[in-house]
């Protein structure tokens, strides 16, 4: 049953607590207005929010194969560590010497990321992936401003890229230019070459790409871009396939962002916040956001003396709680554990792909990395069943649907990323559900087209939700 808004439980005069009598104090504030809060009892509040919480679906409820989002298990010990009083009790304005332990942890986190991904330095300030992209692009822009003046404004982005890439370009004052991919999903070198001129600031790439395929020509691509005077940006959303196996800096990427909330097992997808550290090669170090966390042999300190820095990108030093969880994860895994995690993530994706290949069209059938893409475009023509319909039907089987309609260059697609933290039994049960749905599409397409049948609400009017957003319970009501 759908849960009503808390306001719907309101009864005039009902309250949770009786506050002790206190003499009125006049602070000289403007005339008091009655706050429009729901008038409910404590048990009303507890029950309402408990019911809502039970309608949630997350990695702690079940399998969540959301492509390019790496919904891996978030170890609970990381939560306990991040909640240590030594961290939570620290005031962000405390003097550096009072926060020496925390600064040391942040410094070590940076060092570990540098080793894993091959960079000279990282900033841990950005609060999420897109914020990392924005920061990385500002660094690229600052580099070109110093070396070429302002003429390099174009950032080349393959059509299979994450949608945040062009958005971050625009925000950073650069111009996003889409380049078409080859039919096999890789970067089209001829197309790339056509765009490389002295106005190109760089190329943004995800590797493996959003089809789950490793870009094998990456060294040749990097050479072309560098020879044209551009820089390479690595979108780290798919880094879960590469830890301990390949380093973006070795592939020629000058700048990279990571998503600690994906790859390094901190909660996200509504459970955030995130953290999107940005790594750079030596020549881009001067432009990193300030302060950096430096060590002078005796003390860890915040170094603000960075004249070429693009400036601060986050208050204080980023989302510390998230970084602490990622630090715990890094220490827990060690380098052997991270490598194993990536190997298993790739193995799991290939296992699911192999099991589904009999029933589903997989447009890029080669061995994949940590994720792969299904296309149901033929079913759309034949039975009128779309990728969205399959996703809705999966909810009836108790699974969070995969990413759909992305990447944009594959029609009617579903993008599946199982992650390394799922057992063979979980993967098998998911595959069984997917195979049943494939059979239903052919035997009873209406059942799939009208799904979900078992959820609290069915199909929502997504178009109306965008066109007429109704975000305020009191909108239109009298004050």
């Amino acid at each position: 049953m759908a849960e009503k808004l808390i306001f719907a439980y309101s009864q005039k005069g009902r309250q949770a607590h009786t506050l002790p009598e206190a003499p009125p104090v006049n602070f000289g504030l403007p005339e008091r207005k009655i706050l429009r809060l729901p008038e409910v009892s404590e048990s009303d509040v507890v029950r309402h929010y408990t019911r809502l919480s039970r309608q949630n679906y997350g990695v702690d409820n079940g399998f969540y194969p959301l492509g390019s989002c790496t919904m891996k298990y978030n170890p609970k010990i990381n939560e306990q560590i991040a909640a240590f009083e030594e961290f939570t009790g620290l005031n962000p304005s405390a003097p550096e010497r009072a926060a020496a332990g925390l600064l040391k942890i942040l410094y070590e986190t940076e060092q570990m990321l540098c080793r894993i991904f091959g960079y000279a330095r990282f900033t841990l300030q950005p609060a999420a992936g897109a914020h990392g992209e924005f920061t990385g692009l500002l660094i690229i822009r600052a580099y070109h401003l110093e070396h070429d003046g302002g003429k390099r404004r174009k950032i080349l982005i393959p059509d299979a890229a994450h949608g945040t890439n062009p958005a971050s370009c625009t925000l950073a004052g650069l111009q996003a230019v889409t380049i078409k991919s080859r039919p096999d999903g890789g970067v089209d070198i001829d197309e790339l070459r056509r765009h490389l001129d002295d106005t190109v600031a760089g190329l943004m790439l995800t590797n493996p790409n959003t089809l789950g395929l490793f870009e094998k020509n990456i060294l040749a691509i990097a050479e072309l871009v560098h020879n044209a005077g551009g820089l390479l940006y690595y979108d780290g959303a798919n880094a879960n396939a590469t830890m301990g196996l390949a380093r973006p800096a070795d592939m020629g990427f000058d700048v990279c962002h990571l998503n600690l909330h994906k790859t390094f097992a901190t909660p996200h997808g509504g459970g955030g916040p995130g953290s999107g550290p940005v790594g750079v090669t030596e020549k881009l170090m001067p432009y990193l956001p300030r302060p950096t966390i430096d060590f002078n042999g005796q003390e860890y300190f915040l170094n603000h003396d960075r004249p070429k820095s693009i400036g601060k990108v986050h208050s204080f030093y980023g989302n510390i709680g998230v970084i602490l969880k990622a630090y715990a994860y890094l220490r827990l895994q060690g380098s052997a554990g991270l490598k194993r995690a990536s190997e298993l993530a790739v193995l799991n994706a290939n296992y699911v792909k192999a099991r589904l290949q009999k029933a589903y069209a997989i447009p890029y059938p080669q061995i994949c990395q940590h994720e792969f893409v299904i296309s149901v475009k033929e079913w759309k023509k034949q039975y009128g069943v779309s990728a969205a319909d399959i996703a809705k039907r999966l909810m009836d089987y108790g699974y969070h649907p995969p990413t759909i309609y992305f990447p944009l260059n594959v029609p009617e697609c579903l993008m599946i990323e199982p992650t390394e933290t799922e057992s063979k039994e979980t993967l098998d049960a998911f595959c069984e559900a997917m195979l049943k749905i494939a059979a239903e599409v052919q035997s009873n397409p209406e059942l799939v087209k009208s799904a979900p049948h078992s959820t609290i609400v069915g199909r929502l009017d997504e178009a109306r939700a965008v066109k007429e957003p109704d975000l305020n319970y009191f909108a239109g009501a009298e004050n």
């Binding site: 949608g163 969205a388 309609y405 997504e462 178009a463 965008v466 066109k467």
Partner: protein
């Protein structure tokens, strides 16, 4: 099977264009709106803006995705569809009629004749 009127010309990016005297009317095809799904917003250029062939002139946003609109012809925007601001769903309901997006003047007729005809567009979308 989507509707591809024989009297229109098409781009590979799924726009259609119709010449009406000195004016070229531009919209997106029935196939395009069907692939996009429910359209919730159409961003259109200012009247008087110059557009170039294959250059983007606007954005169409659906519940699934956001796509650029590419101009079939070079020319000057002489009108935008005033109904689309309030009712972007007209592009879904009537892509070749009430769902038109912009009108162009001062276009180049040579560019028009080089566009895809209905049969070529049909082949392009694999129908």
């Amino acid at each position: 099977m989507s509707n591809i009127p024989a009297e229109l010309k098409y781009t590979a990016e799924h726009e259609w264009v119709k010449i009406d005297g000195q004016t070229a009317v531009v919209g997106i095809t029935a196939h395009a709106q069907s692939e996009l799904g429910d359209i919730v917003f159409v961003e259109m250029p200012a009247v008087g803006k110059t557009v170039t062939q294959n250059g983007d002139f606007g954005v169409v946003e659906s519940v699934k995705t956001v796509s650029n609109l590419y101009s079939p012809l070079s020319g000057t925007v002489s009108a935008i569809n005033p109904l689309l601001e309030k009712s972007p769903e007209l592009v879904n309901k009537d892509p070749y009629g009430e769902g038109w997006i912009i009108k162009l003047k001062d276009f180049n007729p040579a560019e028009f004749s080089a566009l895809l005809d209905a049969a070529q567009y049909k082949e392009k979308i694999g129908e």
